[in-house]
């Protein structure tokens, strides 16, 4: 029997709330399957399981209690074990504190067991695309029994989620629902892509809902006035609650960095003419869906350059540097609603340029819809931050602990350069390395920047 524990969530995030389970006892799981959702100061993330087996028991119910990293969340039976009840050691109660008697906190997500599937619609051909089929598998839904609501019998992602009893919910709506004891499965989502937003909850207060969990009367005005159209989700993540929590998380990490890490900075100017011309030629042939951004090119070059100076790639933990054999490149992504995340593209140096671009695209989309995974949030071995797009000339970023290096890029600018004794104008970019002086020195840092520059002169090899 294996304990499935709350994994590391990223630097300086030691605790999280369990907000929902995507599996039930008896479900088969494989390594890499997403089994739960947790919420930290940095937002909601998906948690993957690391073992193959069958869920034996869910140890913790979703609630607003903050659980420390390492808390056992579930037990998984390896597939060759027999399901004999073991004498369980006494476990600490980790459920939510008892709420007021008139409210029943209802878990988001199917915990009690699989919902009865809707009977398949008669006489209609069904279309299930591979991504929808994958989602169904992830959520433990038999896709052949899901009612299709899309055109021409197409099963949509929303159909699958409805069948799994799980809805996509904005972090603020989720918190509000938990506090107010509102059953999210009763709501019709009106947010983008079928997301439940706060406006959906505030509408519920003025209705009598038969047989539903009783919603206690609110004494104060709802934060979002009911007449605000749900599409205007600007109030979803304002400067209170989730965004403030994120700000606090960033503050902790950056303050720690300043306190603990003696950081040195090196800048070099890189000629980008070859790289950008090569990229233009490559993109001219490609449809818009396969286009490669300069950020992906730079990421690949950075990952390869890190191979050459491995003392920039790893974690400094308890007075010791742990060099990483793998290169998981953290990509700084700023969130439109404020705040910053830097999830990792795992094994970035082993990906082709196309694969890296696809991984970056996927990461950005999921960062912006709160669907990052704990493995991505906790595993970056070095980080790249591209600040040129908003006009920054030279970046001076801060190392994100427990990493030991961060690479920043400014704006690509036409600059006068001397080439073979003559004046030329070239598109150039300032590349900055900021690194932990306990682990590397300027000479080695300089070698990294030289390697990065060299890689960007041979873009066809990236």
């Amino acid at each position: 029997m294996i304990d499935f524990k709350l994994p590391s969530l990223g630097a300086d995030m030691d605790e999280a709330m369990l907000v929902g389970w995507l599996v039930s006892p008896g479900d088969q799981v494989s390594r890499g399957d997403i089994v739960a959702e947790v919420e930290t100061d940095k937002g909601v993330m998906e948690v993957e399981c690391w073992d193959d087996g069958i869920i034996d028991e869910l140890l913790v119910e979703p609630s607003s209690t903050k659980l420390p990293v390492g808390t056992p969340l579930a037990r998984i039976r390896a597939t060759d074990e027999s399901p004999v009840a073991e004498p369980a050691p006494h476990r600490e109660v980790t459920a939510a504190p008892e709420p007021a008697p008139s409210r029943e906190p209802v878990a988001v997500g199917a915990v009690a067991g699989p919902q009865a599937p809707a009977p398949p619609p008669p006489h209609v051909t069904r279309h299930v695309s591979p991504p929808v089929r994958h989602l169904a598998h992830q959520l433990g839904v038999d896709v052949d029994t899901v009612t299709a609501s899309g055109p021409e019998g197409t099963v949509t992602r929303e159909d699958v989620r409805r069948a799994a009893g799980r809805r996509r919910v904005s972090p603020r709506a989720r918190r509000l629902a938990m506090e107010e004891g509102i059953d999210l499965s009763l709501l019709s989502p009106t947010g983008p892509d079928g997301m439940i937003v706060v406006a959906d909850l505030t509408g519920l207060e003025s209705k009598a809902v038969d047989g539903a969990v009783e919603v206690a009367d609110r004494e104060e005005e709802p934060a979002v006035p009911p007449e605000v159209p749900a599409r205007t989700v600007e109030s979803e993540l304002p400067a209170d609650d989730p965004a403030l929590a994120m700000r606090r998380a960033i503050a902790r990490s950056m303050a720690r960095s300043n306190r603990e890490i003696p950081q040195y900075s090196l800048v070099t100017q890189i000629d980008m003419k070859r790289a950008l011309e090569w990229l233009d030629d490559a993109n001219a042939e490609r449809p818009v869906t396969a286009r490669i951004l300069p950020a992906a090119l730079v990421a690949k070059a950075t990952a390869l350059a890190l191979r050459e100076v491995p003392e920039l790639n790893g974690h400094f933990v308890e007075d010791r540097f742990e060099q990483s054999a793998d290169i998981h490149l953290g990509m700084a992504i700023s969130l439109r609603t404020g705040g910053l995340v830097a999830p990792a593209i795992r094994n970035a140096d082993t990906l082709t340029l196309d694969e890296l671009m696809a991984a970056l695209d996927d990461l950005v989309r999921r960062a912006r819809s709160w669907k990052l995974r704990t493995s991505e949030m906790a595993s970056a071995t070095a980080t790249l931050t591209n600040l040129g797009e908003r006009g920054v000339g030279t970046a001076f970023p801060i190392v994100i602990p427990p990493q030991v290096a961060i690479i920043g890029l400014g704006r690509v600018m036409e600059r006068p350069v001397a080439i073979d004794g003559m004046l030329a104008v070239r598109p150039t970019v300032d590349a900055t390395l900021v690194a932990d002086h306990r682990v590397s020195d300027g000479h080695r840092g300089g070698l990294f920047l030289a390697a990065l520059e060299q890689r960007l002169q041979e873009p066809e090899k990236l």
Partner: protein, 88 residues
């Protein structure tokens, strides 16, 4: 995927719908249709690419890299889409 000719209104609707997915916090009525979009909405290169991919997915109209300059404003983008839908 549609093969009919787009009117300007159709084109503008698609453009706004995709923008709403990318920048849901923006109030559509505050967007100036003739001003550079990336400046107005603080779109980065990935947002911008997602916008083009979204428009392509909904209209079936391919947007080659060399034509990207048409997509700096909403007016420019709408004109391009209408012309492209007539041409095909």
């Amino acid at each position: 995927m549609t093969t009919k000719t787009l009117t300007t209104d159709d084109a503008v609707k698609v453009i706004y719908d995709v923008l709403a997915e990318i920048a849901p916090e923006v109030d559509a009525s505050e967007i100036d249709m003739s001003v550079d979009l990336t400046e107005q909405l603080d779109l980065d290169s990935m947002d911008y690419l997602h916008w083009l991919v979204g428009i392509n997915a909904r209209t079936g109209i391919e947007i080659p890299d060399r034509d990207a300059s048409h997509f700096m404003t909403i007016d420019g983008a709408a004109r391009y889409l209408v012309d492209a839908s007539v041409a095909r």
